[in-house]
């Protein structure tokens, strides 16, 4: 892992200097902010727009709606953000020639891949944490406080689901010569997983089922079964990253 620290520092500075860090955190912060607000006021909004014809049709909002809105947003915009973050990480460096610039120096290819993985994982973790913190505060203001340990566990599950999609996209970024192609593969996998998640049996083991589990956990209930989707998601992350390292190790640049 020669050069890992140097490269990780470079990745994090790059995220900050190119505004990627700010952009991703702001997108997630907005999701965290609007989820409880939307859940709280959606009934009033719909009733106001409908001019009274929807009066009483929409049930009174609860804290569960705020949490569900957060995981729903994370499961859509969060995944899109994770794919966008991961799609160009390696492919863009190969395309631009900066990978060749780096890897003719005493820098290990394992370190190159690992630094990018850790940087993506950290970026998503920070973004999810910011979104979660804002969501918790606004949920407390608008509804009631959520149990902190359960809510923190829910955020970990959300992060794991995003990491799974980011890892697959990262693998595509290593295998394909262009970031656009890697993004296409990432979105393709997202759609396929979305379709498969509707299937009984398989669906409950996919990363998408982590969002339902996160809903329950955030409200203080331990979801059952939790082990299956967690193990599958971790396996997807580790498998994708292992394959990416194996492929990149001897790849021509």
């Amino acid at each position: 892992m020669t050069g890992f620290g140097l490269l990780l520092g470079k990745e994090i500075r790059e995220q900050a200097r190119t505004m990627r860090l700010l952009a991703v955190v702001v997108v997630f912060a907005i999701m965290g902010l609007i989820s409880p607000v939307f859940a709280r006021y959606v009934r009033e909004i719909v009733e106001a727009i409908g001019g009274g014809q929807f009066q009483g049709m929409i049930p009174a909002p609860t804290v569960a709606d705020a949490v569900a809105q957060l995981t729903k947003n994370m499961g859509q915009f969060g995944v899109v953000a994770a794919i966008l973050v991961a799609m160009g990480t390696v492919a863009a460096e190969k395309e631009r020639g900066t990978a060749a610039f780096l890897l003719t120096k005493p820098i290990g290819r394992g370190a190159f891949v690992a630094a990018k993985i850790v940087a993506i994982g950290t970026l998503l973790a920070v973004a999810v944490a910011v979104a979660g913190a804002l969501c918790w505060v606004y949920t407390t203001i608008l509804f009631e406080p959520l149990p902190v340990p359960g809510f923190a566990g829910a955020l970990v599950l959300v992060w794991l689901s995003l990491a799974a999609f980011a890892a697959v996209t990262f693998l595509a970024s290593v295998v394909t010569p262009s970031g656009v192609a890697a993004g296409g593969i990432g979105f393709g996998v997202f759609i396929v997983v979305g379709i498969l998640s509707a299937l009984p049996g398989i669906g409950s083991y996919l990363p998408t089922s982590l969002w339902g589990a996160a809903n329950l956990l955030a409200l203080g209930t331990v979801p059952d079964p939790l082990g299956g989707p967690v193990v599958v998601s971790v396996a997807i992350v580790l498998g994708s990253l292992g394959l990416a390292w194996w492929r990149f190790r001897r790849q021509e640049l």
């Binding site: 020639g97 060749a100 005493p106």
Partner: protein
């Protein structure tokens, strides 16, 4: 021991040539980009690697720097067998790509500092070396500017600087001055020339005047194959033929064309080239040519401003060895026409 000292020690720690390739071959499907290259580059030399576009120069550099894997054959650089992901190779080489791209968000100083750290340098030694390199490549004033705002020439100078920074045993430069203005070319070539004896420089280019100016030895490749490899003087002595230069006065295009045709048909002529209005006649028999060329000029009715027997250049040898195929290539003609800086 810091990395600079380590790299310096590395330069002396291996025996034999700095670069040794045996049967180095690279195929992309049916296309043979490099065909069984055998090459030996002496330690401490400035080595010119010549060839027209598509000859296999960049492919060779990518194989020798570990960016690509050969289909067949082996190569040893600074005592290290080359291959992808060889950290020990990275410690002993510096590399400049033909179109250098760096992280646009870094400043020039940050980039050089980053490169120094990759070689294990740190502290005052690193700062001092970065200052020295910035000065050498003429980027001191632009050191605080983002690399993304650099011109092509500045990027190339930064590329030369980052390759030289760790004082590598072997420096690979792919077209190192192609984007530079005449002054930048002159300075950079002088910089490269000063490395003679300290490091081995392997420089790929198709600008022949640059090679003639700073290289000790050259290898010429064409269509993936090594055509020749020798010291420049030996190459000129071995391959160069006498050349007559006829510089017609302006405004005689038709007569000059007629003269070129007649010169081309003469039995002592090997080749006639119009080099920006000057006819360069490669001859096989200098004595016969001296006697018969002027009568042909008179017969064609051409008035000459100059008639001279000139020393053959590397360019003449190159064209002779690589032949018309190269001359008709997309870039070689332009390169040949390019004035010396």
């Amino acid at each position: 021991m810091d990395a600079i000292a380590d790299a310096g020690a590395g330069a002396r720690a291996f025996a034999g040539p700095a670069i040794e390739a045996r049967g180095l071959t690279k195929r992309y499907g049916d296309v043979v980009a490099l065909d069984a290259l055998d090459l030996s580059v002496p330690t401490g030399s400035v080595f010119g690697f010549l060839g027209p576009n598509g000859a296999g120069k960049t492919t060779t550099l990518r194989l020798l720097t570990g960016l690509g894997r050969p289909t067949a054959g082996t190569a040893v650089v600074a005592g290290i067998a080359v291959g992808t992901g060889r950290l020990d190779l990275g410690r002993r080489i510096g590399y400049l790509d033909q179109d250098p791209r760096f992280y646009g968000w870094m400043t020039g100083r940050e980039l050089l500092t980053f490169v120094g750290r990759a070689y294990g340098m740190a502290g005052a030694a690193l700062r001092s070396r970065v200052d020295e390199v910035l000065e050498m490549v003429g980027l001191r004033e632009a050191a605080r500017r983002r690399v993304g705002g650099y011109s092509g020439g500045m990027r190339q100078r930064l590329g030369v600087g980052q390759a030289m920074l760790p004082r590598p045993a072997v420096l690979f430069l792919d077209e190192p001055v192609s984007a530079l203005d005449p002054e930048g070319r002159r300075d950079t070539l002088a910089l490269i020339g000063r490395l003679r004896g300290e490091a081995t420089v392997f420089m790929s280019t198709h600008i022949l005047t640059d090679v003639e100016r700073i290289c000790d030895r050259v290898a010429i490749v064409d269509r993936g194959r090594l055509v020749t490899e020798a010291p420049i003087d030996e190459l000129l002595a071995r391959h160069a033929r006498p050349i007559l230069e006829l510089d017609p006065e302006p405004g005689q295009a038709a007569a000059v064309a007629r003269l070129a045709e007649r010169l081309g048909a003469a039995p002592w002529t090997r080749d006639v080239r119009d080099d920006h209005g000057v006819l360069r006649v490669v001859v096989t028999d200098a004595g016969q040519a001296a006697a018969e060329a002027l009568p042909l000029v008179v017969a064609a009715g051409v008035r000459l401003a100059r008639f001279e027997r000139v020393r053959p250049t590397l360019e003449d040898v190159f064209l002779q060895l690589v032949g018309n195929g190269a001359a008709e290539g997309p870039d070689v003609g332009a390169t040949i026409a390019e004035p010396a800086p």
